[in-house]
Symmetry: C2
Subunit: 205 residues, 2 copies
DNA sequence: TGTACATCAGTGAACGCGCGTTCACTGATGTAC
DNA sequence: TGTACATCAGTGAACGCGCGTTCACTGATGTAC
């Protein structure tokens, strides 16, 4: 077994450094501003060095998306498990985790859901996004079983929940929310809170 | 007053043709695939011709976004006014119009809400997006006045509604919805239908 | 422990191409008289 | 109605630059004996 990533080799861990710097650039200047040579300079290596870790630009982006889906899943698990045991609280926690992830990991988020999302092309990536998706699916099912969501087909409920948090995250990340008029720190829990109240009230209708 | 756009001049109406062809390319291949010289060729003119109508690429994209916001507003107005007079039906109609617009005008939609949205930079554009936004705002207020939505601050309700339809539209346009598992033609009305049911049930809680 | 060799992560110059943009020009349309 | 001139929308070749990617190389680390 190879121990390849050990720190203290030539650079330390150039692969991860390249990912980290990329995410920072994408976060602040957008995906189009990511330039592999400038990236290498910022990471303190020469322009050819990244090609010892990524075959090309697309592979670097795929690695970023993969890391992003992993983190998203983890943060959703953590928040879900830290929430009260009732399914509605768990759903609410997952929703807040999703938006919170997008807000504080904008670089990852942009790459994960960019046009012609890479998930469609890379088996490993689509598996990672599936795992995150199933977390949400599971909690919506819990809500149904507890009569805290309308019975019947789970799919549309899941897509509605996902749409709500994804829409809020996207509008935020793309700067479409007029921050002058809204206090974002207050808006996010308020809107995702609607997610938690939406299903139970529909079930009780 | 200048009549500049009259058909039958040199090209006819190159400005609009360039917009139309761009939208088609962006729809099918994404924004990054838009190439001004290839665009000119597809429009049947030489590579320098577009610069008599747009100062640069950014101005072309701004024109596309502007046209998009205008069309979005119009389609929301039409659907709203064709719906039954009760506010919930009107809200539902606007939501379906929004998603329907994104699905059938993907090229426009991509430009309108791309990273670092141009709306932030161009006064004319942000006015156009404001107008569309206010339509939604107005109908949510109608719901509140009819006790068909929770009373109190309108803002969070509007952002929740917008997030829901924008999220669904975005997931769709970016190909993030696993179309193998869902029939899209059925999903859209089902999810946007939740929008219409969400507020009234919350109000009755 | 020391030496010879293999491997691997860097260097940095250069290649090459895609593409936005410019520019001197040409030809068509509109206007003045 | 015809002629002279201004204007404007095209042409198409060329510029220039950003940037992904390659390549021959160097130096550091790991391994065999």
């Amino acid at each position: 077994m190879r121990v390849k990533k050990k720190a203290g080799y030539h650079h330390g861990d150039l692969r991860q450094t390249l990912i980290d710097v990329s995410v920072d650039v994408i976060d602040r200047q957008g995906l189009d501003a990511l330039n592999l040579r400038a990236l290498a300079l910022r990471a303190g290596v020469s322009s050819g060095a990244p090609y010892h870790h990524f075959a090309d630009r697309a592979e670097l982006l795929a690695a970023i998306a993969l890391e992003g889906f992993g983190r998203l899943e983890q943060v959703m698990i953590d928040r879900r498990d830290a929430a009260p045991a009732d399914p509605v609280s768990r759903l609410d926690a997952i929703g807040q985790a999703y938006v919170g992830f997008a807000v504080s990991n904008t670089g990852h988020f942009r790459v994960m859901f960019r046009d012609n999302s890479p998930a469609a092309r890379n088996a490993e990536l689509s598996a990672a996004s599936q795992k995150a998706f199933r977390l949400l699916y599971g909690v919506v099912e819990e809500c149904q079983q507890a009569a805290a969501a309308p019975a019947g087909d789970t799919g549309p409920l899941v897509y509605a929940a996902w749409s709500l948090v994804h829409g809020l995250a996207t509008l935020w990340v793309d700067g479409a929310l007029p921050t002058a008029r809204v206090d974002p720190a207050r808006l996010v829990p308020e809107v995702t809170g609607l997610l938690g109240r939406m299903f139970p009230t529909l079930a009780r209708k």
